[in-house]
């Protein structure tokens, strides 16, 4: 029922939206549908909180292939169904609440744009797909919705399709995530090949890849015999998640995805879709299990990405891109959490992050809506004209930086303490944990650099910009609501009924038991001090309307250039694309044009020539035809005379 409402909205907006300008071209339908989903999701979540330890799995067999003896004895059953358990209830809350608020905000933010029916229809479709993904009860259904959110993301990044940069960003996002998707699919194949014939009920994979508590011990049991394949499958899954969640080295698409409307960035590229990769990792680690090598890779990717993305955020002059890098960096924390065995911690950070990051994006959207630029160095002094936005951004910034009691503190701190615990057991984790700590400092610095540049100071730096103003109530309400969530989401850990949502049950996750309320005070102090130092640095360099200029000969200049060029990753990928793929394409083109087409055309020409000759034989004169008949008969006789005896002998005489 939850995904149904936005699905209906998608269909109805597609048809009637165009003729309904007064309802914001269908925008209100989308808002109402999203609101309905939100209410139902809250009810579901409350139900899960009320009865911890139960989960509901409703699944239908879509089709059933009978097995055959030998290599494929169990057949294959594809199921479609919904699974409501604590983690999907948690994700449902995130998706529908943020979805609803973003929809509402869109009414104001997108008001002046053209093509709104398309926008609302695609956004509704996205919401449908995302809810479907969260509720999937098996890996294949999950993959189906995974692709669907991917394509919606492509549509929405390319919403301003007449802008070449937006069109190419959409393509880039699609292709880069596609790399991950293909590897994800390969992972599913490996799982199938490994588990279609073994395990409970005659093969887990053959029985529809169901997510069911109890799989993980089973797979771990098989692990002794197939640990290599399980590792490979796990790595493929990690690659898929890295593509979707923009983790190193597939991170390049997310900053460019900022070409889409800011609302889209808030919903898809901050709160929900990019979190799907993390969700995939969490689900995999809870239901299937990773091997130790997989976990090391996850830790490495997560820890490195947090730091790596944060460094790029430090210098970027574009308000949205800074937040995008910060998203990559925060997703890195979640991945790190899963790697160190705290899948639920990762999901908790996902939960808090969704609110404060959506808040940051929407606040940035307010600024962009008001003054029409994304260049930080043109802004300034907006604190005076946009009080609400500036306060909201400040709340989001504090939550992101990890200052207690704001949301980000609790979840990030839990992750860091879990990471340290894990690193004490596995020395190989240390470098990445240290990088994650360094990123805390950078995070606080870059987000407050943005805040000071945008809101502090006396006046706007570029006088040609229009006078700033706050958006209407549809834009203010989501800002206020998200600010409240950004503050309290982290405090939810202290609510016992909410804790049940963070409690995996059935299986104890290997490694660290989920400890949500007890944190290591010394570690917390370190991270708070680091964050405070970051804010102080930002104030010293950018506070009060100052603009910090690097000295002309400074050694930091080449570094800044390196960061601005994003470590040349994009350039390198482009070069690979241009040299490698184009060469390949040219070879393929040559083969197509001259070898394949050549064969076809050659055959055609040969047929033409032959039929041209044959045509002359058809004279229309009866005697000629009679001659052909006789010639044919003679031919048959001759053949029979020559071959006949052998044939008769071959049949055994007669």
């Amino acid at each position: 029922m939850v995904p149904l409402a936005p699905a209906l909205a998608f269909v109805s907006i597609s048809f009637v939206g165009r003729r309904w300008p007064k309802g914001e071209w269908g925008g209100w339908i989308a808002v109402v549908a999203a609101g309905f989903s939100m209410v139902v999701s809250v009810l579901i979540a409350l139900g899960e909180m009320g009865a911890p330890g139960t989960y509901t799995d409703v699944s239908y067999t879509w089709f059933n292939l009978p097995g055959s003896p030998g290599a494929f004895p169990n057949g294959f059953r594809l199921v479609i169904g919904t699974l409501v358990d604590p983690i999907s209830a948690l994700m449902l809350l995130v998706v529908t609440v943020v979805g609803f608020l973003v929809m509402l905000y869109s009414i104001g933010y997108m008001h002046h744009d053209r093509g709104l029916p398309r926008y609302y229809a695609e956004l509704s479709l996205f919401l449908t797909a995302m809810i479907g993904l969260v509720l999937s009860d098996n890996l294949l259904e999950f993959f189906l919705f995974w692709e669907l959110v991917g394509v919606c993301s492509y549509f929405l990044i390319g919403f301003y399709y007449e802008k070449p940069s937006a069109a190419s960003a959409a393509k880039e996002a699609f292709i880069v995530t596609r790399v991950g998707d293909v590897l994800f699919l390969a992972g599913i194949f490996v799982y199938f090949a490994t588990y279609a014939t073994s395990g409970p009920a005659g093969g887990w994979a053959a029985n529809g890849f169901l997510f069911a508590y109890g799989n993980a011990p089973f797979l771990a049991g098989v692990l002794g015999g197939n640990s290599f394949l399980l590792t490979v499958a796990g790595l493929f899954i990690v690659a898929g998640a890295a593509g979707k969640s923009a983790q190193f080295p597939l991170h390049v698409w997310l900053p460019d995805a900022m070409e889409g409307p800011t609302t889209v960035s808030a919903l898809i590229h901050a709160a929900t879709m990019v979190a799907a990769g993390v969700y995939l990792l969490a689900v995999t680690s809870l239901f299937l299990g990773f091997t130790s090598l997989d976990l090391l890779v996850i830790v490495a990717i997560g820890g490195f990405t947090t730091f790596f993305a944060a460094t790029m955020a430090v210098v970027n002059p574009d308000i949205k891109r800074v937040i995008a890098y910060s998203t990559i960096s925060q997703l890195g924390y979640m991945v790190l959490a899963i790697g160190v065995g705290g899948a639920m911690l990762g999901l908790f950070h996902l939960f808090t992050h969704a609110f404060f990051k959506a808040l940051l994006f929407l606040a940035a959207g307010s600024v962009i809506h008001a003054i029409g630029t994304q260049d930080l160095f043109k802004m300034g002094g907006l604190r005076k004209t946009m009080r609400l936005t500036s306060a909201a951004f400040l709340v989001g910034g504090l939550a992101l930086a990890g200052i207690p009691p704001f949301g980000g503190f609790w979840s990030k701190d839990d992750i860091l303490s879990a990471a340290v615990q894990a690193a004490e057991a596995h020395a190989a984790y240390w470098p990445f944990v240290v990088l994650a700590f360094a990123a805390v400092y950078l995070t606080a610095y870059y987000i407050f650099r943005v805040w000071f540049l945008t809101f502090s100071g006396d006046a706007v730096r570029d006088p040609s910009l229009p006078a700033a103003h706050e958006g209407g109530w549809v834009m203010q309400v989501p800002l206020i609501a998200l600010s409240v969530f950004a503050v309290v989401a982290g405090l939810f850990v202290f609510v016992p009924s909410f804790q049940t949502l963070l409690q995996p049950f059935g299986v104890a996750v290997a490694g660290i038991p989920p400890t949500y309320t007890s944190t290591d005070l010394a570690l917390s102090a370190i991270s708070v001090v680091l964050a405070g130092a970051g804010i102080a640095t930002a104030y010293a360099l950018w506070g009060g309307g100052r603009v910090y200029e690097l000295a002309p000969r400074s050694a930091a200049r080449p570094i800044r250039q390196l960061l601005l060029e994003r470590y040349y990753f994009k350039a390198a990928y482009d070069a690979i694309g241009r040299r490698g793929i184009y060469t390949l394409a040219r070879v393929a083109d040559f083969v197509d044009r001259y070898v394949i087409d050549g064969t076809v055309h050659g055959l055609e020409r040969a047929m033409g020539a032959v039929s041209d000759r044959l045509r002359r034989a058809q004279t229309g004169v009866v005697s000629d035809y009679a001659a052909y008949v006789v010639a044919g008969l003679l031919f048959v006789f001759v053949v029979l005379l020559l071959v006949g005896p052998y044939v008769v002998n071959a049949w055994g005489g007669g």
């Binding site: 058809q618 004279t619 229309g620 004169v621 009866v622 005697s623 009679a626 001659a627 006789v630």
Partner: protein
């Protein structure tokens, strides 16, 4: 059965067939063409009548070959009737019975 031996008879029938084929291939007059075809059919009928005298297995009466011959003669008569009708129509249309001049069979 007196008279012809099997080789002699086969030579006769083959000669008749060859004559017919020769006529079909060389004549250009439609009526002569029809006559040549008739000769060929008679060669075939002759075969039936001759070999009917050597029943190969029990249950085959000598009459069966002759019956086929009679039926075939009947068919030949109708066929000639149709053929002559075509010749008449063609003659009316083109004013000639030369087969080389009518190429309507060409698609």
């Amino acid at each position: 059965m007196s008279g012809l031996t099997i080789p002699e008879f086969l030579a006769l029938a083959s000669a008749l067939l060859a004559l017919s084929i020769f006529g079909v291939l060389t004549r250009r007059n439609f009526i002569l063409l029809l006559i040549a075809i008739e000769i060929g059919m008679n060669a075939a009928i002759l075969n039936f009548i001759y070999f009917a005298a050597f029943p190969l297995c029990a249950g085959h009466s000598a009459l069966s070959g002759q019956a086929i011959a009679v039926v075939t003669i009947g068919f030949a008569a109708t066929e000639v009737a149709v053929g002559l009708a075509i010749v008449l129509a063609l003659n009316r249309l083109k004013g000639t019975t030369n087969v080389a001049e009518s190429t309507e069979l060409k698609l």
